[in-house]
């Protein structure tokens, strides 16, 4: 009773915006994670205290109720990508789904072959799972991408051998938003008779993703990139034509038809389902609105500043993302000029523990200097129109300030050829 009382108070006193957002800080880091939609939070709340059941408890009503809720969420999630609910395996997120797909396929099809093809620009969860596969005796081909961030289809087709069991190509890139030619890759895989897996974490819930129509056999995605909670995701595994199987990577109680043991995260899964339902209804409108705002931000910065480069394809791209390099300004330093007002992320080395800049941008052929100068702006459902105008001013002023401090900007302005300088690399 106490908890119910609290929930009511919570609802009465605060409107959604006050509940969930710090109104002064502009959140342009939706590719890192999205705020959990208040409607999703509302759907989740009853599943903590009032309905505490374990979905695997078969002997009482608490368990049945939880199982019912999970089944319903499974339908909602399956519906979002137009697949059967039986084809959805719930996981703890996209990292786990990536691992299950890659290692699970590698183990299951080891008699057929040991070769996997992927891209240099994949997420670490894919690259590191592939690295593990190599340690387990597999072979992995890491394909280059072009200046736009796109895979070369001919190269991909030529890389497929009779030992190839899996092609793994992400639907949309997390750093640049670049969308790969999924349908064309699907056709190649079908023709060659190899399985096609896609980490679609950044695409699902934001653009239409239909694996059946696209010829994708496995798809990994996660709730927290589509306005759902953190710590819950899914792997879609095609059940018919072809029937795809994976070897479970988590041993235990045999949940999820043995594919992923572990007590189901009922509130999380309910939230994931709700998030999927909302996304299905709203993604088209969200995408339309956000692409206008993104284009406005991009255009204004290009107009107000010199030497601004948009990284990756501008046509095959997610509607809410732009990755921009501001030449001769270091990304982390630039972020510090406005991070009391805007939250973004940078491909600069300084944001990571290593001293290397973003491997994704380097794979696009960017050059380390431009990669160090990059900022990713990722808008989202809760982005307000007026935030774009504020951000344009803050970013443009920040870049100008940092350029006033930059010795290489000064040299560039004086016409010094920076390549002619003997740099003291360290």
């Amino acid at each position: 009773m106490l908890s119910l009382h609290c929930i009511c108070l919570f609802k009465l006193n605060l409107n959604n915006e006050e509940r969930y957002m710090d109104n002064n800080l502009i959140y342009f880091d939706n590719n890192a994670t999205t705020p959990c939609d208040p409607r999703v939070v509302d759907a989740m709340l009853p599943w903590f205290y009032q309905n505490p059941g374990n979905a695997a408890s078969r002997s009482h009503a608490f368990g049945w109720k939880a199982e019912e809720a999970v089944d319903y969420a499974r339908e909602q999630v399956a519906n979002l990508i137009s697949v059967e609910s039986k084809e959805i395996i719930f996981t703890s997120g996209a990292t786990e789904a990536d691992n299950l797909a890659i290692k699970g396929v590698f183990e299951m099809y080891s008699r057929k072959g040991n070769h996997i093809i992927t891209l240099k620009t994949e997420h670490k969860a894919v690259l590191d799972a592939c690295d593990r596969v190599e340690k387990m005796g597999g072979e992995v081909t890491y394909l280059d991408v072009d200046r736009e961030g796109l895979v070369n289809l001919e190269e991909l087709e030529n890389a497929i051998t009779d030992k190839t069991v899996l092609v793994s190509v992400m639907w949309a890139n997390n750093e640049t938003g670049v969308i790969q030619p999924m349908k064309e890759i699907g056709e190649i895989c079908a023709r060659k008779g190899v399985l096609f897996f896609s980490d679609a974490t950044q695409a699902v819930g934001k653009i239409p993703v239909n694996p059946k129509e696209t010829g994708v056999h496995l798809i990994a995605f996660t709730a927290h990139k589509m306005y759902g909670p953190k710590g819950v995701g899914a792997l879609f595994v095609n059940r018919k034509k072809p029937r795809v199987k994976v070897v479970a990577q988590m041993d235990g109680g045999g949940h999820e038809r043995g594919m992923r043991s572990g007590t189901l995260n009922v509130p999380g899964i309910v939230g994931f389902g709700k998030a999927a339902e909302i996304a299905k209804q709203e993604m088209e409108a969200d995408a339309k609105r956000l692409s206008v705002l993104r284009d406005k931000l991009e255009k204004a910065l290009e107009e107000r500043l010199e030497e601004v480069y948009v990284n990756g394809s501008r046509t095959n791209r997610m509607p809410h993302v732009t990755n921009i390099s501001f030449k001769h300004v270091e990304g982390e330093g630039l972020m510090m000029t406005f991070n009391e007002n805007i939250a973004v992320s940078s491909g600069s080395a300084c944001t990571s523990a290593s001293l290397e800049p973003s491997y994704v941008l380097v794979a696009l052929g960017l050059g380390d200097d431009l990669a160090h100068s990059s900022i990713r702006f990722s808008l989202g459902r809760f982005t307000k129109d007026e935030e774009i105008d504020r951000a344009i001013d803050l970013v443009a002023n920040g870049v100008t300030h940092m350029r006033d401090l930059s010795p290489i900007w000064e040299m560039y302005k004086e016409g010094v050829d920076l390549d002619s300088i003997q740099w003291e690399a360290h």
Partner: protein, 127 residues
């Protein structure tokens, strides 16, 4: 990562930003780092007849810690003799700004820039 007040102050209000005439005999210039590495620091000193650093300026391409390190270095340099300046250690900068471990290379860069500016001045003036 939360930065120290001092670091943030140097970043927000950097001291001694600018350029001295590198062709002047009394000016020593140190340029260290590389654009591909994500930081380039240019530190300049102007030295009096008596061998005292009268002015120091910097420009830095780099993260907040690199900018703060160079700003602090220019403050410390003013009024020092060349020998005193040459004994500034990167760990002094680390301590003053409370640089986190991943940013220690920024302080090393500042120390290198100081040493290089002194060397440049000495070579120019045969001292």
């Amino acid at each position: 990562m939360a930065y120290s007040e001092k670091l943030l102050d140097h970043f927000k209000n950097p001291k001694n930003v600018g350029t001295l005439d590198k062709n002047k005999k009394s000016v020593g210039t140190g340029l260290v780092g590389a654009p591909e590495c994500g930081d380039v620091m240019r530190l300049q000193i102007e030295v009096s007849e008596e061998g005292v650093i009268e002015d120091a300026k910097f420009k830095t391409f780099g993260c907040g810690s690199a900018i703060a390190s160079s700003s602090l270095a220019t403050e410390w340099l003013k009024g020092k003799s060349l020998d005193e300046a040459g004994s500034i250690d990167n760990m002094d900068i680390v301590e003053e700004l409370a640089l986190p471990p991943v940013k220690i290379h920024c302080s090393v860069l500042a120390e290198d820039a100081i040493k290089m500016a002194i060397k440049d001045y000495r070579e120019k003036n045969g001292k």
